[in-house]
Symmetry: C2
Subunit: 491 residues, 2 copies
């Protein structure tokens, strides 16, 4: 037993190497603006740079760091760049990063309370904190029948609540009624709901995708919902789940929670709200109005890893009735039994989620809340919204462009106006503009389609973004637009 | 726009604070043996120590670190302690920790190739590396129709393959046949399969749990499987999925892959292998035999985050036919469309998993493989197996104890012998012994039940464990056994 070559967790080597890694990462942030925001590599680029098999013998840390610099960085799309305006932000922060370090350092697996009581209890406490900051109803807090839990992503959040709702419905109407269950959402609802329906076996023809348009600013019309439910009930189907969104992915549309909640309640449907992006803004009193009606919902989700400075992944889900989740997700194998669980004295989060294992993710959210504090976080959100407002004003001043939907939070939906109102031309034009600006590497923005129109999305929210970056981004857009318009005149 | 109070990603603050955190974590590893391995706090302990709401104003890092020490640590069960022998190990290593740091530092969200080409491509390459180390069949590598992907946990791995198998079967026999689909596994299969069945809507009465016993050392009997399939076919049901295990959770039983594979093939069933724990050992030529027959499987899973020095979470899944996964899990919303994906030139891992977002987890596996190298990793595994063999010998020398199942890898299943062959007494005795040793805080072990007998599990695998820790653990067990036996004599 003397051939113990490897000491994989030597505290002094950890100290030495990890200090080097800290400097490497701090240097990365110092130079982050020097990289193209959107990686410009070609598919398969890395295969040519890396050996076909793992080494037999150890390599030095310096070698690996050199490779990260030379081979990995060119293939990174820099989500933390101040010039990143695509999709929605995915914030890294000093506090969030420290929380990740500590969680990786302890490397506990907190599936049951006993496997690290602090992991379960801190998660309950911190989600209560965040719930109070969002003024969520009492029944979402851990003191009642509900509670909060950290999921990996909003996709997992909607999957577990859909599952809980499915099983609750099937317990009522009989387990062979799966093919009768109907889900309601809008054409603006995130694709994760569709995926959750596929997984849980909801029949595709029973997914009611309510059409939205500019008349409601792409939010769900309660009338359409009522009509759809009536029709489904009329043909013997069973409405059981409604997913509304506060801040849709395409355009930050806000569904009317209060009206939708009443409809859900009178039809005994599970009402879930996806506020993955915009939930963060609702810690500011002036934006809390968008959650009005949340007291009518059964579950509510916001991603602290988007616009809330908590490194990916950290998706906060609150439910009104935790037993509904537990009934669908619990297993109780012998090898996990323990006194505390058997005595029903504790919460075991394994029964609130898909995976068994779970990281100590509450640490990073706790560190964000403590190292920044509520007022700073509100200021952070407001600053981004101000920057988006500023960008919106820049767009509005250029007659070649239009702002397509009213800006609510920190996303601006805009486009180059088509020549002679030719929408096909407009779509190509904006598609080409997107491609042109992203190819410069100077900024990264993304797109959507609303009512058949190709739209550009400018999402402010990276932690390093300042007014100068927004101004520079606008100059890039104007410049590429000019080139495009002069080079491709309509005959 | 001047009220920008918060600079949440200041490179120099990151450098300063993260250096402090490195020292905090290195100091933790230096003092790790001073803590009780299993946390000794009472349910609800943390609630009394932490305020009811988040602070309005920032707190200092030192305050937070002091609280981690004073309030969090007592509630931590120290999975990295050298005296941790419970469940299965969950390794942290310097390399794995550095990979987590780098991943958290870049904080990219690699759902599509375009969102960080390096994240997708490194994952493909590194899983090919690991696949070759395990001598997996060519068709599991990314060069063919299959490929590897990092899932969060083995639970997610079995869920996505069960889903792919379900949909493949339903495409063949018609989508209303869900209630006819039958899953096969054994009473030793991990509970995650049961959970996956619940989620995907497999009817509970169609989950065939094949009984195992000591005659096959708790592995699946191919005859029982054949009989069950014949019976199900006879009554019009549709066998579609078999889950075998290499290294079961209770006792590291190894199912006979080759024979099971032939049965699966002739019945056109999806054959999945869960080698979550024992897969790591199969990088050593002398343990590779336990994977014989893997060439007959459709999917194979091992957790690099268990016994392979890669910090949680990192569960490696290989599939033979990636399109089966993609058909079940892909969504293609407008807002995620991009040139590379539309041109089918790239892999988008979002379509291989439940969540949309994903961390850059291949970095840590890459760093483990490079900073340690194959030979060191083999030596690491062999050393733990040697230590388990040593513990087994200690148990065998004490006539009060018995080794219950033959040790194969690094887990020893053993128990105190009951008085006068009274099994009820034996179960209580071992239950009490488990409780007594874990309450000392000196070691942490867990249990299972095999053929109605309560068994103690001693799993070697924490990175810091040395022979002296195994010897000390055995002394604790002997001492508590003596106390128990002298205090509770059977009349």
């Amino acid at each position: 037993m003397d051939n113990v070559g490897l000491k994989p967790m030597d505290a002094e080597q950890l100290r030495d190497y990890a200090h080097q890694m800290v400097d490497f990462i701090a240097d990365y942030y110092n130079s982050i603006e020097s990289f193209p925001v959107l990686s410009q590599v070609q598919p398969g680029y890395l295969h040519k740079l890396i050996p076909d098999s793992a080494p037999n013998h150890p390599e030095s840390l310096q070698n690996v760091l050199d490779d990260v610099q030379a081979k990995i960085f060119p293939g990174v799309t820099h989500w933390q760049s101040p010039n990143y305006f695509a999709y929605y932000p995915s914030n890294s922060s000093v506090a969030g990063f420290l929380g990740e370090m500590l969680s990786a350092g302890l490397n506990i697996v907190g599936f049951s309370w006993i496997t690290s009581p602090a992991a379960t209890e801190l998660e309950m406490i911190v989600l209560d904190w965040l719930g109070k900051m969002l003024k969520l109803p009492e029944h979402f807090l851990s003191t009642g029948q509900g509670g909060g839990v950290i999921q990996g992503t909003a996709s997992e959040a909607v999957l577990v609540v859909l599952l809980a709702a499915r099983d609750k419905a099937l317990r009522k109407v009989g387990k062979n009624a799966l093919e009768k269950l109907v889900v309601y959402a809008s054409d603006q609802t995130h694709a994760s709901l569709q995926k959750a329906c596929q997984i849980t076996g909801i029949h595709p023809e029973n997914c009611r995708i309510l059409k939205t348009d500019s008349s409601t600013n792409y939010s769900i019309s309660p009338h359409l919902l009522t009509d759809a439910i009536s029709h489904d009930l009329g043909v013997g189907l069973i409405p059981f789940f409604l997913c509304a969104t506060v801040g849709t992915t395409s355009s930050t549309a806000v569904d009317p929670l209060l009206e939708l909640g009443k409809i859900s309640k009178s039809n005994e449907m599970w009402f879930h709200v996806d506020a993955a992006y915009a939930g963060s803004a609702c810690i500011c009193p002036e934006y809390r109005q968008y959650l009005n009606g949340v007291e009518e919902t059964d579950s509510f989700n916001m991603n602290a890893h988007k616009w809330f400075l908590t490194n990916f992944d950290c998706s906060a889900l609150w439910v009104k009735d935790r037993n509904a989740l537990i009934q669908s997700l619990s297993t109780n194998p012998e090898y996990l039994k323990n006194k505390a669980s058997e005595a029903n004295m504790v919460m075991d989060y394994k029964d609130w989620q898909i995976p068994l294992g779970r990281r100590f993710r509450s640490l990073k959210l706790w560190m964000v809340l403590r190292l920044y504090g509520l007022e700073n976080l509100q200021c952070y959100i407001r600053n981004h919204i101000q920057l988006a407002k500023h960008f919106e004003a820049l767009v509005a001043q250029d007659p070649r462009f239009e702002v397509v939907t009213p800006r609510i939070f920190s996303l601006v939906c805009f486009r180059l106006l088509p020549h002679y109102n030719n929408e096909d031309d407009g779509n190509k034009l904006n598609h080409d503009l997107l491609d042109a600006v992203n190819t410069t590497g100077k900024i990264f923005i993304s797109h959507t389609v609303l009512s058949g129109k190709y739209i550009l999305r400018f999402a402010v929210g990276a932690p390093l973004t300042e007014e100068r970056h927004v101004n520079a981004a606008w100059k890039v857009l104007q410049h590429e637009a000019s080139t495009l318009l002069s080079g491709n005149p309509i005959e």
